[in-house]
Symmetry: C2
């Protein structure tokens, strides 16, 4: 099987190039620009006809990316691509997954519907699932959420002396356990209550019996950084060592990265799901494995007489 | 029949309020804000259940508006609105209506598909139709393009002494004739060739026999303003009076408004399809008439035994 044709939306060139190499495919040439009136122009400069196509577009700025993503996917199908999939290392609009107050738009559902009408499969890294147990409840296309826990744990094991892994909330227990197992380290979780967009109230576990360890605060996303900043404050009050902050997705809204750096973290480390100065953990190999699985599913399911397997979740 | 419930996306409050009054309806309360991470939050604060709903959202910044438009429309349907229509006084993505170069995304089609999946009818003002003869070739929902020619002509008749109406290109001939008829004025058109995004080459008709008139340059959209700036230069070379510039849609990309003002226009006048300092022509009454027709179509077509009329175009 020839490898796929990989297109990078602006800002995703590095990930697309490495993904294409890992898959034995090639990067397609693409032109995206904005007209003076603010409309977006998209041109596919490598023919996708009869090719298996992968779009790489991390969704750190989902509103800005959405038009070019939809236009590109529509054009690729129109130009005869065999199938178009999306690798969104960071997947957006996972928080508003229900109506917390009457009348709210459930943007998780709306956004998923927009993506699912445009592409035929989706691979992402550690989606922020909350009320939905799996991506398949939101997305009407085959999806795969790559688990970054092993990559995070391996980095911690290799780089932190005597780590003590601390997760953000009770819900993250299983995910934190996975990281701790890969890091060969003990772990615990914070108790957190979110109020509005930015206010977070939490309590830190007593670390008396872990005073000789290096605290490692882990989370799937660092957005405002408030959770980690508050946790760092509590840890320092208890006389703990300056913690290492490790997260999958380097969202870093506003000034949150410098705020977090100033708050007493000894180091801030993220994966390259969103390009950022803090990227030290590489998730491209894990993404490539997941994409390979999607492509193989397609090949099998379209072979004569093949039984289509259930979509991976 | 009770009037419709009208929701204004941010920046459209004035138009929505006047439209609601003209239709005997009311403006619904709506909350739209952006989270620190850039995602959009939408909440409908007036129940749309079983109501005929109108969203007012001009598409001057289509990429920025698209997510909130889709989220709002999805939420309204989800909350039980009888029907959801869109008033977009300025409709975006009308230029790329074909593949000028191989591999180009036909954004007119993609954008129309996004809108048509979200709302059930569309009313706009003078859409920039080029290769498509009517909106119905692009939009799979009932649409109506309000003609602003009479409103422009009436303003010219009331405000310009001895006007001579000059249209932007041969294609605009019929539209310019409509304006000139309403203004009781003679008219002509420029010959224009567009090169790339901003370069325009044109020739101006000889105005010797109209030297006593006030030139009135008209166009559907002023975006970069290059067409009008070049025309003003040619007119001044011929010793014509400083022209009045009249357009439907005040797009005004970048510094184009001040560029045009400095280039020798005696006045720049637009309709309120896009809120701008140059708005002097009111198209809300014309829009209200078109919306009333859409709402009536719905009522008739859903009455028992009614024959559904073909969608207006």
């Amino acid at each position: 099987m020839a490898g796929p044709l990989v297109f990078a939306l602006p800002g995703n060139d590095l990930a697309a190039g490495r993904l294409a190499r890992a898959l034995g495919g090639e990067v397609g040439a693409l032109t995206v620009h904005e007209f003076p009136d603010g409309e977006t122009y998209v041109r596919v400069d490598t023919s996708p006809t009869a090719r298996d196509v992968v779009i790489v577009a991390t969704l750190r700025h989902p509103n800005a990316v959405l038009p070019s993503l939809v236009f590109l996917a529509d054009a690729l199908r129109d130009l005869g691509a065999a199938r178009v999939g999306l690798v969104a290392p960071y997947l957006a609009y996972m928080r508003q997954d229900t109506r917390f107050r009457p009348g709210e738009a459930i943007t998780s559902r709306s956004f998923a519907a927009l993506v699912a009408r445009s592409v035929q499969w989706l691979v992402t890294v550690d989606p922020h699932l909350h009320r939905f147990a799996s991506l398949s409840e939101l997305y009407a296309i085959p999806t795969q959420g790559v688990h970054a826990a092993a990559d995070l744990g391996a980095w911690i094991a290799a780089n932190v002396t005597s780590p003590f892994v601390i997760g953000p909330d009770a819900e993250s227990r299983q995910w934190v356990d996975g990281i701790a197992a890969a890091a060969h380290a003990p772990s615990t979780v914070l108790v957190k209550t979110r109020r509005g967009d930015t206010d977070v109230v939490e309590s830190i576990p007593n670390i008396d019996d872990r005073r000789s360890c290096t605290p490692v605060l882990v989370d799937d996303i660092i957005s405002t950084g408030r959770t980690m900043i508050a946790a760092i404050g509590h840890l320092r009050e208890q006389g703990a060592a300056a913690p290492v902050c490790v997260a999958v997705h380097a969202v870093f809204a506003g000034e949150s990265y410098s705020d977090l750096a100033r708050s007493g973290a000894s180091q801030i480390v993220t994966t390259n799901s969103i390009v950022h100065a803090s990227n030290l953990i590489d998730v491209i190999p894990s993404i490539a494995a997941a994409v390979r699985r999607q492509l193989a599913t397609f090949t099998e399911s379209t072979a004569p007489g093949a039984v289509r397997p259930p979509p991976p979740t």
